[in-house]
Subunit: 276 residues, 2 copies
């Protein structure tokens, strides 16, 4: 976040939240990160739909789409450079203890941040990944949900500091590939594009959903299934996706002392065009 | 929390934290809840030791014991009724993204709250529990740590609203008993007191550690091992523990449509005396 990002809390310019908020106490909330172009949030209907679904998964009533549109209008201007909106929704303040207060009002935060200065080569040439030691734990009740309990991602991201590693692949206890710390993963085998099943853990990103809906445009069959690391490393192409950069071609994955390489290919490029 | 609890943020009277704090963004921090009697935090050396250990587990440098003592002195007075201190430590503010900022300063919150109005019968007669559907997920890197990623406890606690149910037993995917949503569990079999192994998940409470160190006083052999629900239900006595009430005798556990009952016994009473 920049030193002084513009932040709205429940629609008011305000950089602070209550120290008694359950988002802080328990990670009791959800979030999203999305791109804002010319003052307009990109693919907003999909993001709002996902916010409603994620809130629903943990029993929070999602604020109205109008409330968010008003936030966007306050924070973002049409003539600004492309920027990022981070949205958090929590269950609000509560009494001490895990039981939610029946009268708690959800709290919504919108933060305006700069688009990260991604190297051009990530788009043109592709990126290098590593495999993280930190596993994603299984919790079917929270699988797919972008909630605020993200210590596993933090621990995984703390495993490396080399700037040439763009992200880390996270596995589950069964050795299945789940995602990157901040991206979903896709592996192409011939004309089939496979992305990991996220019924036990992981985050179903909006860009992942968009890609899955572009079978015709991409001329690929889409498949959601378990895929272990060994199989991922034999894919014809590997691509990672998120809402800020769209898709990047994965050119290598380091695991323990071995490194698997892929030639320069075009899938990430095609995906970026298909979901634009 | 009361309507206007006294709250210190980094030692200043202040009810708010930055909306960019990583404690909110990712649950990137740890916490403790303890009893304060005559202005003095009960068993503080143990709680501080646990704070340091938990911070260490996620790579946060724990603030000094002096900082907390100064907080206690500001918030609590010697002639006040027994009350509760909730302490949270987070990794502090950070840039957007999971990677911690190398310059982030940990943030510490201390909240003064009322001691819950526990029914006298919980101490005299014992309590009734249910078994939660929500499982505790396995994450060896976070096992034992009282971190701020507590959505599982929230979901588990949302499963019931009957006031006669004091807490819910949480199991793991293997059917092993881990803990209650806000307590550790002990089961006595003859002269052996068993408490669940917490190497894959769960929170190692300070009161649990105290009980484990009182083998001689309690005239019981202490054992830490896996214990499944079926075995728990055949225990001679079941006791739950936390830092606020010490220990309560478990008189019944409801699971699906069956209810296991225990007679009134004395272990919780003996434990409360032994750890006082």
């Amino acid at each position: 976040m920049e030193t002084n990002p513009a932040t709205l809390v429940n629609g008011s310019f305000n950089g602070v939240i209550s120290a008694l908020d359950r988002g802080l106490a328990y990670g009791d909330g959800v979030f999203r990160t999305l791109k804002v172009v010319d003052g307009m949030p990109l693919h907003w209907p999909l993001h709002y739909q996902k916010l409603v679904a994620d809130c629903g998964a943990i029993g929070i009533v999602c604020p109205s789409a109008d409330a968010f549109m008003s936030d966007f209008n306050l924070l973002f201007l049409p003539d600004e450079p492309i920027s990022v909106a981070k949205i958090m929704i929590t269950r609000g303040e509560g009494e001490r203890g895990y039981k939610p207060s029946p009268v708690a009002l959800p709290m919504r935060v919108m933060v305006k941040a700069k688009l990260p200065a991604y190297p051009e080569s990530h788009f043109d040439e592709g990126v290098h990944l590593r495999v993280c030691e930190t596993l994603v734990s299984h919790q079917p009740k929270l699988a797919g949900v972008k909630h605020l309990n993200r210590l596993e991602n933090v621990l995984a991201r703390m495993e490396w500091s080399e700037p040439e590693i763009a992200d880390g692949v996270m596995l589950d206890i069964n050795g299945n590939v789940i995602e990157c710390t901040a991206a979903n993963l896709f592996a192409r085998f011939d004309d089939v594009l496979v992305t990991p099943k996220l019924d036990l853990c992981g985050v179903e990103g909006v860009t992942r959903m968009q890609i899955l809906s572009r079978a015709t445009t991409l001329n690929l069959k889409m498949k959601i299934e378990n895929i272990d690391l060994k199989r991922l490393l034999t894919a014809d192409e590997v691509v990672m996706s998120n809402s800020l950069y769209g898709a990047w071609q994965v050119r290598s994955i380091e695991h323990q002392s071995t490194k698997t390489n892929w030639a320069k290919q075009t899938l990430a490029n095609n995906i970026r065009k298909a979901i634009a």
